[in-house]
């Protein structure tokens, strides 16, 4: 994995050859515990960050908004309680349905519950498609590095990787949504469905799908660049292994050596790295949902920071952290399952 991936993906050491002493169960438990501790720190961080900063905390909550005297008084009372009391209140249940969004005046967790499904639809589709295409690209490029396909594909993926995803989104929207350079705008310019359409009917689903195309394509292009680069690097590493020479000596065709030996082995670290890059995926989701007004968690984050709606921001931050820490945990556990070297 080149430095580019290390710095860009920036995850804790992907497991290559972990040492497993003792039972696998102990390892699994310790990893789960570590994940929980990490999330606990997020909750603590959430609490202290907003309260430890200089300036009037009331100002933070009410910046840019008008609130009546009654609300401000209540806020002041809450914030004047001893710090440790506020701390206990918060950490005992960060998922308290009583926490209200200051912008929407509804419980934050209700909002999050509503907005999470569009995000899952968008990200899920993009990730699955990007994995398939990206891995295929990476394999073809990595098997014959320096060849023509590799040069073109790596150049393209590097360029895609250097793009701000929201910019790509805006350009696609202008060209294919509004129409430019002689291309008529065919796709919708935003939202998840045309207003008035019943999204629970099959016709409604098609409508949603039609709205899904552009945002999904935007994310798809960015994600597949990442996955292709990772798969390529992984395969290039694998090609150096000696057992491939043995496979050739046995009389296997080049394609068979690739399919049966090199690729399965190179896929192991690639799949874990795909899970580990969820942090990168989440970043893309926030800005792209904003550009396309896709009513998911990403757009919610944007709306929250416009306020700034502190309780909502805290909640969203927690949700994203849970998702990413969870994905990391799955990646680590998955590796234990699929690599026989680690299983006991």
């Amino acid at each position: 994995m080149s430095l580019l991936q290390e710095v860009a993906v920036g995850e804790p050491d992907p497991i290559r050859t972990p040492r497993v002493s003792g039972s696998t169960l102990r390892v699994v438990v310790s990893k789960v515990v570590r994940a929980i501790i990490t999330l606990a720190f997020v909750v603590v961080f959430n609490f202290f960050l907003f309260r430890m900063l200089p300036g009037d905390p009331i100002g933070l909550y009410t910046r840019g908004r008008n609130q009546d005297a009654e609300q401000i008084a209540q806020l002041r009372r809450d914030l004047n309680k001893p710090l440790w009391e506020q701390f206990i209140t918060y950490i005992s249940n960060p998922f308290d349905p009583g926490i209200d969004s200051t912008r929407f005046s509804r419980p934050v967790w209700e909002l999050i519950g509503e907005r999470i499904w569009p995000t899952i639809l968008l990200l899920g589709t993009a990730i699955v498609l990007a994995s398939i295409i990206g891995i295929w690209l990476g394999i073809r490029a990595g098997w014959k590095p320096g060849g023509r396909f590799d040069k073109v594909s790596t150049g393209t993926t590097l360029t895609l990787y250097s793009m701000p995803e929201f910019w790509l989104g805006m350009m696609l929207l202008i060209v294919f949504g509004v129409g430019a350079f002689g291309i008529p705008g065919f796709f919708p310019v935003g939202g998840i469905s045309t207003p008035g359409v019943d999204t629970s009917s099959p016709a409604g689903w098609l409508n949603v799908l039609w709205h899904l195309v552009l945002p999904c394509t935007t994310l798809l292009l960015i994600y597949l660049a990442d996955y292709a680069l990772v798969m390529r690097a992984s395969l290039i590493d694998e090609r150096k292994q000696e057992y491939l020479m043995l496979a050739r000596a046995k009389g296997l065709r080049d394609a068979m050596v690739r399919k049966k030996h090199a690729v399965p082995n190179a896929l192991l670290p690639t799949i874990t790295l795909i899970f580990l890059s969820l942090g990168f995926v989440v970043t893309g989701a926030i800005t792209v949902e904003t550009v396309y007004s896709w009513p998911g968690l990403g757009l919610l984050t944007y709306e929250a920071l416009r306020g700034p709606d502190i309780p909502l921001l805290q909640a969203v931050f927690l949700v994203f952290s849970i998702a990413v820490v969870g994905a990391n945990l799955i990646a680590e556990l998955l590796y234990i399952v699929i690599d026989p070297r680690v299983r006991q």
Binding site: Q241, E242, Y243, M245, L246, A247, R248, A249, K250, G251, L252, R253, H261, P264, N265, L268, D339, P340, R341
Partner: protein
């Protein structure tokens, strides 16, 4: 007709000659040893038999295996020949085997590919037994086996399609002495039993002396001495062979313990070889003519040859 014949084989990587004009025969039922330091070209020479060199290598001459020139075969014919006519025993290091496949599956692979047995599982069990491993080990992964066991698996792998020729490239280098002896015994007894030919490559003249029928000594891409194994070991004619033989102290030979014979200098860099006899800069018996005359193998006794100006028949 010899089982394997190298006819004036040369291998170049760009400008750098790795093997320079090697001519050698191996007969059926015979064990030929190729000795030399690392970098002398012995592994490269071995790789030519199955055309396993990278595309950047240019190979000249002919490698005749079972009356066919491997170097000019079609790809299809070559893939059929690989493993079925000749097989290689690689070093059984952890990465010599696919680390995420069970060894039984890896053993079965060439059998299925070349269709050399109808009951593949039975054949795999048979192979494992032949090399002294319990057939239940077929489900084990490489990292679950010891170094000696992995080497045995490599041997079983090479025998899988009952080839006529086995090339063992440093099969014992990574093993400790006791296991070394076991593995060598196994190899030689199998070869005799199955009437195959074997090329045994090693830098350890002691190993070769006890297991081979004949030995060829390589230096800087060329053969510098050939002959019956025991003769070479007891009475080396080429100064390089003498240095190689002397580098291994013999148990019971008190004199050898007090008179260490080393070789000054390093093996020559293939891109910048000395003129005349390539060995002359390090030779303890060098003469003025050695720097200017290229030396070919010349007869040095019954069934023996050495490439040294000092050798007279």
């Amino acid at each position: 007709m010899s089982l394997l014949e190298f006819r004036d084989v040369s291998v170049d990587y760009g400008d750098i000659p790795a093997v320079r004009g090697v001519t050698l025969n191996i007969e059926r039922g015979e064990v030929l040893g190729i000795a030399g330091e690392s970098g002398c070209g012995k592994s490269t020479l071995a790789a030519t038999v199955l055309r396993l060199l990278p595309d950047s290598a240019r190979v000249g001459g002919a490698v005749i295996l079972d009356d066919q020139d491997v170097l000019t075969m079609t790809w299809g014919r070559l893939r059929a020949v690989r493993w079925a006519d000749a097989a290689i025993v690689f070093q059984g290091a952890l990465h010599g085997l696919n680390p995420v496949q069970a060894i039984g599956k890896q053993l079965a692979e060439p059998i299925r590919l070349h269709k050399t047995a109808t009951d593949v599982d039975a054949r795999v069990a048979e192979l494992l037994t032949q090399v002294g491993l319990p057939p239940s080990r077929a489900r084990a992964f490489p990292h679950e086996l010891s170094g000696g066991q992995r080497q045995r698996v490599m041997i079983a792998m090479a025998l899988a399609c009952a080839p006529d020729l086995i090339i063992a490239d440093e099969p014992t280098t990574a093993l400790d002495v006791m296991v070394q002896a076991q593995v060598l015994d196994l190899l030689t007894s199998l070869v005799r039993e199955l009437n195959m030919g074997m090329v045994l490559i090693s830098h350890d003249l002691g190993v070769l002396g006890t297991t081979c029928d004949r030995i060829a000594v390589m230096y800087a891409g060329r053969i510098v001495e050939t002959g019956p194994a025991l003769d070479i070991f007891d009475d080396p004619r080429h100064p390089y062979t003498r240095a190689l033989a002397g580098a291994f102290p013999r148990i019971g030979d008190d004199a050898a313990r007090y008179a260490p014979v080393g070789l000054p200098g390093d093996p020559p860099y293939a891109g910048d070889l000395p003129s005349g006899c390539t060995f002359h800069p390090r030779c303890p018996e060098v003469m003025p003519e050695c720097a200017t005359t290229t030396v070919e193998l010349r007869p040095a006794g019954p069934g023996r040859a050495a490439a040294c100006l000092r050798v007279l028949p």
